[in-house]
């Protein structure tokens, strides 16, 4: 396993058992097959509070499959999932949400025809009497969350089709904060964004960490990954292929793990 968490010295929110530090999410020996294709083979993965973990790897390495298992879109063929130390199953997206796992999918999963507030609360609207919307209340919450994130949205009444790519991404990230999640999964959040917009999104990710969340960041972009993450987990051909401290690991060593130039032996640090 990856051993002690790299990002020490920060206050952890109490999560049931206190010492030693319990990961928010621990996945052990996760295996997933699509017919004959082995998407994941015996993968271990952990996320702690106040931590951004980057999940990197080449195309087809299994990053998205792992993220989809975390967010309940896929279920693993075998392996153990623990949430805050307790064994758990995540059979569907709403179970993931109930467990405090929020996901920003690569296509953002936003409704262009709805405004910012409606998108934030989609599927979990604040209601009076079970079916009538409490629009004013939802708008206030939306404003508060966007303010917490220092998000660059002009108005919560704006329909999504009027927003830029970076603004849409920040809506998608703000969306995860509805209902106080503990873990946020971000799938390629900076793909297809301009430099300025990418910077905005990376700031948002740092804000999520400051808010005490565990963040799983899936990305192709090594620069972004090294800029915001605390720990970098490499997947290759559906297997763990290295775990790096983002502050000390060199670009070359990470790249070598991704491409398979160095192989990782369980129990060892690859660097």
């Amino acid at each position: 396993m990856t051993g002690a968490p790299v990002h020490d010295g920060e206050q952890v929110r109490p999560m049931g058992a206190t010492a030693p530090r319990v990961p928010l999410l621990a996945m052990k020996q996760i295996t997933k097959r699509f017919n004959a294709v082995e998407a994941l083979v015996g993968v271990d993965f952990e996320v702690y509070a106040h931590e951004v973990v980057a999940l990197v790897g080449d195309n087809g390495a299994g990053k998205s499959t792992l993220a989809q298992i975390v967010s309940g879109v896929l279920t693993p063929d075998s392996g153990i999932i623990e949430l805050a130390g307790e064994p758990a199953t995540i059979p569907n997206p709403s179970a993931a949400h109930a467990a405090g796992i929020a996901t920003v999918f690569q296509d953002l999963a936003l409704c262009d025809n709805l405004d910012v507030t409606a998108n934030l609360f989609l599927g979990r609207e604040a209601t009076a009497g079970g079916s009538f919307l409490r629009d004013g209340e939802m708008e206030q919450t939306t404003k508060r969350i966007l303010r917490d994130l220092n998000s660059p949205i002009p108005s919560v009444k704006t329909q999504l089709h009027a927003l830029s790519g970076g603004q849409r991404q920040s809506v998608a990230i703000a969306r995860t904060l509805i209902g106080n999640p503990r873990i946020v999964v971000l799938d390629e959040p900076t793909a297809a964004l301009s430099v300025a917009q990418t910077a905005e999104v990376l700031t948002l990710i740092e804000r999520l960490r400051e808010l005490g969340l565990g963040v799983i960041l899936i990305s192709h972009n090594m620069v972004d990954v090294r800029a915001v993450s605390d720990r970098i987990e490499v997947l290759r051909h559906g297997r763990n292929n290295g775990s790096f401290d983002a502050t000390t690991a060199s670009y070359e060593s990470i790249l070598a793990a991704i491409t398979g130039a160095t192989s990782y032996i369980k129990g060892d640090r690859a660097y």
Binding site: D107, A109, D112, L114, L122, S131, D135, G136, E139, S155
Partner: protein, 393 residues
Amino acid sequence: MTAVAGLKEIFTRNLRTSGIYIAFVAIIGLFTILTDGMLLSPGNLTNIVLQYSYILILAIGMVIVIIAGHIDLSVGSVVALTGAVSAVVVIKNGAPWWLGVLVALAVGLAVGAWQGFWVAYVGIPAFIVTLAGMLLFRGMTLQVLENISLSPFPGEYQKIAGGFLNGILGGNGFDVFTLVIFALALVGYGVSQFRSRQARIKYQQTVEAFPLFVLKLVLISAVVMAFGYQLSRSRGLPIVLIILGVLIMAYTIVTTKTVFGRHVYAIGGNLHAAQLSGVKVRKINFWIFVNMGFLAAVAGVVYSSRSNGAQPGAGNMFELDAIAACFIGGASTTGGVGRVTGAMVGGLIMGVMSNGMQLMGIDQSVQQMVKGLVLLLAVAFDIYNKRRAGAAR
């Protein structure tokens, strides 16, 4: 925000939704001139209400179907089937009129549940399911009626679409009761608008300037009271207008203020996103079609009442009128966009045009061509707007 800037804001921001109202006013103006004011005469306005009420009722359900990204081609056949069932119950078996209505509504709900099941739980596109339904329910109508027309309905049943509430409070040359009902409706509307404005202020949401707000209310009140006055000078308040008014209010609330409505828009806007967000897509789709079946049954009752009987060919092409009303009223062909009030105005645009051209004695063939072109232009306008919005991003 000053009143003028506010007005300009409203027009430019929502050209797509306000454009339809401008077009409506223009068409009314045009046909008023062309028919020497006959269009707005008391008798003719009453006629328009009676003649197009069932299309408007269908359009309420249809716009919800269309917002969710579906289509329903079967409503014409469902109108025929529910009318036929009601006729068999009331005319053939001599049951009381209300039993006929209840059975017709039950049949409508069952039809909706049937189509909803195939669309939502089996996953067959609504186009196919309702195309099948169009044939299926037309065939069932023929079976139920044994290929012959049934008529006449008893007097109470005829009143649903042809009855009026008048004379209760007297009046000289006009019906006071009609005016009182219209005034009460407007006061209710004004109070609810004011309260929602206050609520928005409380939550620090943006509201239009107060003079503009008052101006809007006054304008709406003037138009509605003028309409009510004309009705009151003819035969009074049509019962079917009350049915229609209640349905419009109820469904405006359903589409704009409830979770169900929000989810309908979400499904039409981005189905995948709605699913991932935990919207119960199948359940919503199912109820959309149950609701459409219910409203088609209401329209079926109204239509059978108006035509005072059930014919095997009743309701033919109604689906197309209802669909056209939605698209003219600003609904998007790709789903996610549309309003109940828009669909109503769209339906009225069609109605006023047909009626005006009939008054002018224009040939049926030309009427069809004009209506076809208007539909085409309305959708072209929608697509043009979308392109412009896309380019502005």
